[in-house]
């Protein structure tokens, strides 16, 4: 870490941003870790000690491997080094719930280093931007409080997976469709949750890449198909060879889990649940005999009993169809006019739909669209406004992940810092006529001219509605942290969390509608 100053002067600026973030990540190493830490440690041990055909059938720990094979290979790769650093860490049985300073250091560093993929793809994505825009974009992504909270405290590898997503998007924007499709296929074999955007990719690539007459189009379809199939074969081939394929899919899609995660992600189903409760409550008041549901929304594995008292129960199939319907407008757009400059928005929109209507959604999944949307945040004042709002809501909805007192001020000041940076950055970039004019009004981007609802001299102003909503976040937080314990003591412990879910779900729904409108209006 002791960089000689001379090297420093020469490193490219993006590495400066990355290293500053890395210094902070290093400091956060002893911070709170969720069980995901043990999950990934167990996967290191699992892939290190067992032959490949046992990876998806082992039951030594409840944290079975439920990511696709490339992630397992990645863990296998890490486990070589892990076993050198601390052999107990990769021991299948002795390693269970094993924590040592070295093990923590190793796993945390593996997350920090894997973020290099993210840095690389941001650099690629932002290479045509002007300097000030670059700096702002980098600050939005590399210093994103969401990534700090989820990856470097809670513990996951999202930075590196999102890096691949951005890489794929940057290929598509450059018009290199085969590379874009290839990277996306690889990403799917790392984490299948990213498959929500697969329909968008499919339609876009089919219309944008496989065109130019029947023969050429068909030829290209074959090329693309074989690239994608090749990737899948590399991932699943070995498991198919051992006849494990069914077991792999069984582990990857545990539909035994409930509609909602333990902490309700702020999505559409929160409203549905609340409506159900409300109706049940009213019905009881009106004298109907309503049976209290025996199952919960979060606990899975409850057989056939419905967790809903009044409304029809929701099955994975229903959520699947809802997501598909929600994505349809952007599929139609992509079919009619597959433009590279829109692809990032479409993909982000698809993830928004998946987040809002999906089955057993984690709050962390909001990163899947917040991070790609940072790329578009500087395209117009409207975009900036939406992004400012969305990223605050998304980061705030991650707060319940860190529930210990020690991390409390850290997450709050990370969010404040992010907000202040965005506020200063956006308002000087979109300052209407003053300082930012030189940088924001030069019509060097043709999409600025082509997009309908963009006023190049627009100012970045968060309206009273947005301000009131953001102030509401503050009220919800004060209530949950201070007033609720003061008034109710230990009763209704779920209530503050529920309020966060509901309140953030409002913001998420707004963002979904905004994106939908934007896509529908775009030409």
């Amino acid at each position: 870490m002791k960089k000689s100053p001379k090297n420093n002067q020469r490193i490219s600026d993006i590495w400066w941003f990355a290293l500053v973030a890395a210094a902070l990540k290093l400091l956060l190493i002893p911070a709170y870790r969720s069980t995901d830490f043990e999950v990934h440690r167990h996967w290191l041990a699992l892939t290190h000690s067992l032959p490949l055909y046992h990876w998806y059938s082992d039951t030594t720990s409840p944290w079975t491997l439920d990511y696709p094979p490339f992630f397992a290979y990645f863990e296998k790769f890490l486990s070589f080094f892990a076993s050198l650093v601390d052999p107990t860490m990769t021991n299948l049985h002795e390693g269970l719930n094993y924590v040592s300073p070295l093990a923590i250091l190793f796993q945390r560093l593996s997350v920090i280093f894997s973020d290099v993929v993210l840095i690389y793809s941001i650099r690629k994505l932002s290479k045509d931007l002007k300097k000030t825009e670059k700096f702002l974009t980098w600050a939005l992504i590399i210093w994103s409080p969401g990534l700090f909270i989820v990856d470097h405290m809670h513990f996951q590898y999202n930075g590196f997976l999102l890096g691949m997503l951005l890489l794929s998007l940057s290929y598509l924007e450059e018009g290199r469709d085969v590379m874009g499709g290839f990277v996306f296929a690889v990403l799917l074999c790392f984490k299948h949750l990213f498959a929500v955007a697969a329909p968008v990719y499919f339609v876009y690539l089919f219309r944008h890449y496989c065109n130019g007459g029947i023969v050429k189009g068909f030829g290209r379809l074959v090329v693309m198909g074989s690239v994608v199939l090749g990737v899948f074969a590399a991932a699943y081939g070995p498991f198919a060879y051992y006849g494990q394929i069914q077991q792999v899919f069984h582990r990857m899609f545990p539909f035994g889990r409930g509609l909602c995660h333990a902490y309700w992600a702020p999505n559409f189903w929160v409203f549905y649940i609340i409506l159900d409760k409300l109706l049940a409550f009213l019905s009881v008041k009106l004298g109907f005999n309503i049976q209290a549901p025996t199952a919960s929304f979060t606990g899975g594995l409850v057989g056939d009993s419905s967790p809903f008292a009044v409304l029809p129960t929701i099955t994975p199939l229903v959520t699947f169809i809802t997501v598909l319907i929600a994505i349809t407008p952007c599929l139609i757009k992509a079919w009619r006019d597959p433009q590279p400059r829109m692809v990032t928005r479409w993909v982000a929109y698809a993830y928004t739909c998946g987040f809002l209507f999906g089955w057993h959604v984690h709050e962390k999944a909001s990163l899947h669209f917040v991070i790609p949307l940072s790329i578009t945040a500087l395209k117009s004042a409207e975009d900036a406004k939406h992004y400012f709002f969305l990223s605050m809501v998304s980061c705030y909805s991650l707060f319940p992940l860190l529930f210990e007192a020690q991390e409390y001020p850290i997450k709050v000041s990370l969010l404040l810092l992010h907000a202040v940076l965005m506020w200063f950055g956006f308002s000087s970039h979109f300052s209407g006529s003053k300082v930012g004019k030189a940088s924001s009004s030069v019509p060097e981007k043709d999409d600025k001219l082509r997009s309908p609802n963009i006023d190049r001299n627009a100012k970045f102003v968060v309206g009273w509605c947005g301000k009131a909503y953001l102030f509401g976040l503050f009220v919800v937080e004060i209530w949950g942290q201070f007033l609720h314990p003061l008034i109710f003591g230990n009763r209704l412990p779920f209530f503050p969390l529920m309020m966060i879910s509901i309140y953030c779900a409002l913001g998420m729904t707004y963002s979904w509608i905004w994106q939908l409108r934007y896509i529908a209006k775009s030409r």
Binding site: K3, S4, L24, L417, V420, L421, F424
Partner: protein
């Protein structure tokens, strides 16, 4: 996450090279808010690391000392705080800082008592350690930092840049980051565990007041700093010299001096009020503040006495009494030139150099210096960072090195590495105006050589077990190395102050002609 800095003249070809303009174009306060939020995050992150003496009975470390003071101050009457008794065993971390520290402990003790009473109960809380106790203690440091140090820096920056031309304001953001993100201060206060931010913050406030020509306010702040940590006396000759020199140039020197004197005495009287009822009581407190029995040096501090003890066994050869005189004479004779210059020519610029020089002479030659005292010379160096970027950087490197053994004992290697890296990154933030003085081949080769050897020293200290005969060999080498750099820096800065005053004299003569 972040913010940071700076500035820059259009050194790069692109027209919008002022990449931090979005931060700085809105004025001092918003720049400051941004950087201080980042500085806050860094402090919070350092605070999750261990503190000094964590889980090491029976004496623990500075953390336990501070906690013990809270225990003593909230359970005993004021008069008993500094007195050995059956309830106050002074040999166990007895209070040995001036009364303001005691009051601060009292306030913080109340806070701890409210949230976690067992952490400050008399006797039974000795060696008390718990998750919530650690958090509360950490938050007391953080809040002191936020309430005293941060506003003082804002005050200083406002005063310092108020008279500068617009062009020079561009380096303000960088300057704020350098002062707020001083790695040594963060490591000691939020890692090791101390409250230096209070006395240093009060000192900065005093400097800021003096920069805005409010000398009386400045002397109140400085008296308060002195009453929080007696180490603030390292700056006393500079304050004394500057204020005296300034008074002498006024129309009515005697009146001005007596005004200042009254203000200082008044501040002291208020702080010492509970101990003024008898001379004995005051002397009792005073004697606690000067722990001569601890010897001329402790551990391996990179100052003159400790370093030369390799050749001359001071502790064995001389009586403590004589050593006291020796060190006093050495200290005075080294800070005297700087102080006299200040009296003769009290300009604001040379005042900062004077602070640096005086604190260095105390650090290098006074009695009972601790490695943490390097924070005192570091403060004026950080205030001078824009004029003397190289000196500041160099001093930070070797101050960090000299504290490395201490921080390693505290198990703070990780934050040490992270903050070291962060400092280098912030120092070389993109868009910074490059200092042309640093581009000389010979100098940069020498620099790289020294930096490489310091890196190697770190590694050796971490990995190699010293020979049994010399168990503290690496500490001694680190000390020697840091000492040599400190001496060089101090010589440079003394000569710089001297050159400044000559320059000023020439200017004045020209004007009078």
């Amino acid at each position: 996450m972040e913010k940071k800095k700076k500035l820059n003249q259009p050194t790069k070809s692109e027209p919008e090279s002022d990449i931090w303009a979005f931060l700085t174009c809105r004025g001092t306060k918003s720049t400051f808010v941004c950087i201080s939020l980042f500085a806050l995050v860094v402090r919070l992150a350092v605070a999750i690391h261990p503190y000094s003496g964590a889980a090491t009975p029976p004496k623990f470390g500075d953390y336990e000392a501070q906690r013990h003071w809270m225990e003593i101050t909230i359970n005993l009457p004021v008069k008993e705080w500094y007195r050995n008794s059956s309830t106050n065993d002074l040999s166990y971390w007895g209070l040995d800082y001036p009364p303001l520290t005691a009051y601060q402990s009292y306030l913080h003790g109340l806070l701890l008592k409210f949230f976690d009473p067992s952490s400050v109960s008399l006797f039974t809380s000795r060696g008390y350690e718990s998750y919530i106790g650690k958090l509360l203690m950490r938050w007391t440091v953080l809040s002191s930092d936020l309430l005293i140090f941060f506003p003082a820096v804002l005050y200083f920056v406002t005063a310092y840049y108020s008279k500068k031309p617009i062009g020079e304001k561009s380096s303000m953001a960088w300057h704020i980051a350098m002062v707020l993100l001083n790695p040594c201060l963060i490591l000691i206060d939020h890692g090791h565990f101390q409250y230096n931010c209070i006395s240093l913050g009060l000192t900065i406030a005093a400097v800021a007041a003096i920069f805005s020509d409010r000398d009386l306010v400045g002397s109140v702040f400085f008296s308060l700093a002195l009453n929080h940590k007696q180490m603030s006396a390292y700056y006393a000759p500079a304050f004394f010299g500057y204020l005296l020199g300034k008074c002498l140039r006024r129309r009515n020197p005697a009146f001005e001096i007596s005004k200042l004197g009254l203000v200082v005495l008044g501040t002291f009287a208020i702080v010492w009020l509970p101990y003024l009822y008898s001379a004995d009581a005051s002397l009792e407190v005073l004697s606690r503040l000067a722990p001569f029995e601890r010897g001329i040096y402790e551990d391996y501090v990179a100052n003159f006495w400790c370093t030369t003890s390799i050749l001359v066994k001071w502790k064995r050869l001389f009586a403590t009494q004589l050593l006291k005189l020796l060190s006093l004479a050495a200290t005075i004779s080294t800070f005297l030139p700087s102080m006299i210059q200040l009296i003769l020519l009290p300009t604001k610029q040379s005042f900062l150099y004077g602070m640096l020089n005086c604190s260095f002479s105390f650090y290098l030659f006074s009695f009972q210096v601790h490695e943490k005292s390097i924070l005192l010379p570091l403060l004026p160096a950080s205030l001078l960072a824009v004029e003397e970027p190289f000196i500041f950087r160099w001093l930070i490197y070797y101050a960090l090195l000299s504290m490395f053994p201490l921080l390693r004992r505290d198990d703070l290697i990780l934050p040490y590495i992270a903050l070291y890296g962060l400092f280098v990154l912030l120092y070389y933030a993109p868009g910074r105006r490059t200092d042309t003085r640093e581009n000389n081949f010979f100098g940069s080769t020498l620099q790289s050589l020294l930096l490489t050897s310091s890196l190697i020293l770190h590694i050796i200290y971490m990995t190699v077990t010293p020979p049994e005969k010399y168990p503290f060999l690496s500490e001694a080498i680190i000390m020697l190395f840091s000492f040599s750099q400190f001496v060089l820096i101090s010589i440079y800065s003394n000569s710089k102050q001297c050159a400044l005053s000559k320059q000023d004299q020439v200017d004045i003569k020209k004007k009078s002609l």
